[in-house]
């Protein structure tokens, strides 16, 4: 079966006065129908830039290379007309800050209806009825009243529900959620994650969940890709990566993600040092400078992702667990 989204050897570079920032490096990922892919990494790891490239919404100084296939069609380098037919309809994205993603001077109803008027040539009346139905579906209480509200009249959690509802109006096959809960409270965060899960089941949606929080991704994702300095360093099935993390970076990240189940410690575990400068190309492993297992070879030779392509359907727990490391932890 064809994956619905297939990214191959994606490279994203930004030209700046200080040099060329190589933000995404040789990223290969695929997303199956109805599947949820989690992408995890620190700020600056390239996780957002990779999917902004998929949406074709990067800044003008970006140079994108590689291949991005959506439903079997190459969309990298496609014309704006072609992209506009797909974006917001079949391929949608929800961002971290629900306030700045909504237009402040239009009511929720108008903004939502507009999506259908533009993409499906619906009449405003029909579009507004569909918007109302969608607000109900994303569990917005008193939906009819909220349609007449402006974004600032809603709480952060409600706004994020509206964003998710808006992105689902044209029945997309892929929803990319970029840190959808980072700006929200713990309790609201749990509600939004639950909503995404329900929408996935109800609509057969394929989901990309981008986050820096492993605990959040772990609740939803079938497969998880860990990114560091623009590269995928480890990829595995969702549950597997937590019990059997192989890359020292993943292990360190897991240690930092304290939850209430772990014992109370004297000091919180931290990750020392900084990610590398992305304008430079290091000969060896990007993580070597911060890694406790690094040896001489790590600084000299770049470790390749052990299985170059990750077949999402062949998720045999142990066999499909590529890792880019010379000294991985044994699971």
């Amino acid at each position: 079966m064809q994956p619905v989204l297939n990214i191959k050897q994606l490279d994203v570079k930004f030209k700046q006065s200080t040099g060329v920032v190589h933000a995404v490096r040789q990223v290969t990922l695929s997303l199956g129908l109805g599947e949820c892919l989690g992408v995890v990494g620190e700020s600056g790891s390239g996780k957002t830039q990779a999917f902004m490239a998929v949406m074709g919404i990067l800044e003008k100084n970006a140079l994108v290379q590689g291949s991005i296939q959506f439903e079997g069609r190459e969309i990298l380098g496609a014309s704006p007309t072609t992209l506009n037919r797909i974006r917001g309809a079949k391929l949608t994205m929800v961002f971290q800050d629900p306030m700045s993603s909504l237009t402040p001077h239009l009511t929720i109803g108008t903004q939502m209806a507009e999506v259908l008027v533009v993409h499906q040539k619906e009449s405003w009346g029909n579009a507004e009825r569909a918007a109302l139905q969608m607000l109900d579906q994303v569990r917005v209480p008193e939906a009819a009243r909220r349609l007449k509200c402006y974004p600032h009249e809603l709480s952060g959690g409600m706004r994020q529900r509206v964003m998710i509802g808006m992105s689902l109006l044209c029945k997309p096959s892929v929803l990319i959620a970029d840190e959808p809960t980072t700006a929200l409270d713990v309790t609201v965060q749990a509600q939004i994650i639950k909503l995404l899960q329900e929408m996935r089941a109800e609509l057969g949606l394929s989901l990309v969940l981008i986050s820096h929080d492993l605990a959040i991704v772990s609740g939803l994702a079938d497969t998880i890709a860990v990114m560091y300095a623009g590269r995928i360093v480890e990829q595995s099935s969702g549950g597997n990566i937590f019990q059997h993390a192989k890359h020292p970076y993943t292990v360190a990240l897991l240690k930092c993600t304290s939850d209430l189940a772990s014992p109370r410690l004297d000091r919180l575990p931290t990750l020392q040092g900084f990610p590398p400068d992305l304008t430079q190309e290091l000969p060896g492993c990007d993580f070597a400078a911060r890694c406790s297992r690094a040896s001489e070879i790590c600084r000299r030779v770049r470790p390749e992702l052990s299985a170059a392509t990750f077949e999402y359907r062949s998720l045999d727990a142990q066999s499909a667990h590529p890792v880019a490391c010379h000294h991985p932890y044994e699971s």
Binding site: E42, S43, S155, G156, L184, D185, V186, T187, V188, Q189, A190, Q191, I193, K194, Q197, H212, D213, L214, A215, I216, S218, G219, L220, G238, G239, F242, Q243, A252, L253, L254, C256, T257, S258, D259, L260, A261, R264, L265, R267, L268, P269, T270, L271, F274
Partner: protein, 263 residues
């Protein structure tokens, strides 16, 4: 020997127009103690913290070493603020973008210790910069040149410059990466022990609150709904809201958000 608390808050109310942000709230804070304050957005955590420092209008009594902060003269208030400090959530927005790091750190000294010689001031600034893990060559840089974690270190350095007796931390790690959060929390704990500073630590990150607090207050819709020692609160939460809050915390490796956690 019985110590009277450093800070005694009684019947503190914050009202914005017709909206009541904080209903009568009372609690104590002892010297060197860390009090966690949790609750969802809009529950009144920040309003409470700001009211204590008299940054927003409030009614009630805030006794700081038996002096009412809410009733003292502005002159007196300025003097008291030497010992009261605050760190905000957004590290970049809370630093003046047009000031170099050196000037940002010198400002509290200029205001509260104007008699200090130039050399002594520089010595104190460099010592604090080193203490929070930043390099001396960063003194002439501007806030936008730093990462979020580094900006928060500058914020911590500025807040601790005068070795305050009370530090209010309003979501100090919420906008930072998981890997950086631990560094900032550890730094706060180290400085707190060194200066014997009492802390009011606001966060919705329950794991961090559990780590840092001696006691925890839970707020819901402007009211204190539970107050307990840290261990008691996390082991045996009593109020239904506290239970829901704890149940909503994601657990690594758990396969789904649990419906019981929904509010």
């Amino acid at each position: 020997m019985i110590h009277s608390p450093l800070l005694q808050v009684s019947d503190l109310c914050v009202q914005f127009g017709a909206f009541t942000a904080v209903n009568p709230v009372s609690f104590d804070l002892n010297e060197g103690e860390t009090l966690g304050l949790v609750g969802e957005s809009g529950s009144g955590k920040s309003s409470l913290a700001r009211a204590i420092l008299r940054l927003v209008p409030a009614t009630g009594v805030v006794l700081w070493k038996s002096e009412n902060i809410l009733a003292c003269s502005h002159q007196r208030l300025r003097r008291l603020r030497r010992d009261l400090s605050i760190i905000f959530q957004d590290p970049l927005a809370s630093l003046n973008p047009r000031m170099q790091v050196g000037d940002l750190l010198a400002e509290p000294l200029h205001i509260f210790e104007p008699a200090l010689s130039h050399n002594e001031r520089q010595r104190r600034i460099l010592k604090m910069l080193d203490r929070v893990g930043l390099h001396a060559n960063m003194l002439t840089q501007y806030p936008h040149e730093f990462s979020g974690g580094q900006c928060q270190r500058i914020g911590v350095a500025r807040a601790m410059m005068l070795q305050p007796q009370l530090l209010v931390c309003d979501e100090p790690v919420s906008s930072l990466d998981v890997s950086i959060q631990g560094q900032i929390v550890n730094l706060l704990v180290d400085l707190q022990i060194e200066f014997n500073t009492a802390m009011l630590f606001i966060s919705h990150n329950m794991a961090v609150v559990r780590h840092i607090s001696d006691r925890v207050l839970v707020m819901y819709r402007g009211q204190l709904v539970e107050s307990a020692s840290c261990d008691t609160l996390f082991a045996a939460p009593v109020h239904p809201y506290t239970r829901a809050l704890l149940a909503a915390v994601p657990v690594i490796g758990a396969t789904a958000a649990r419906p019981s956690a929904m509010l």
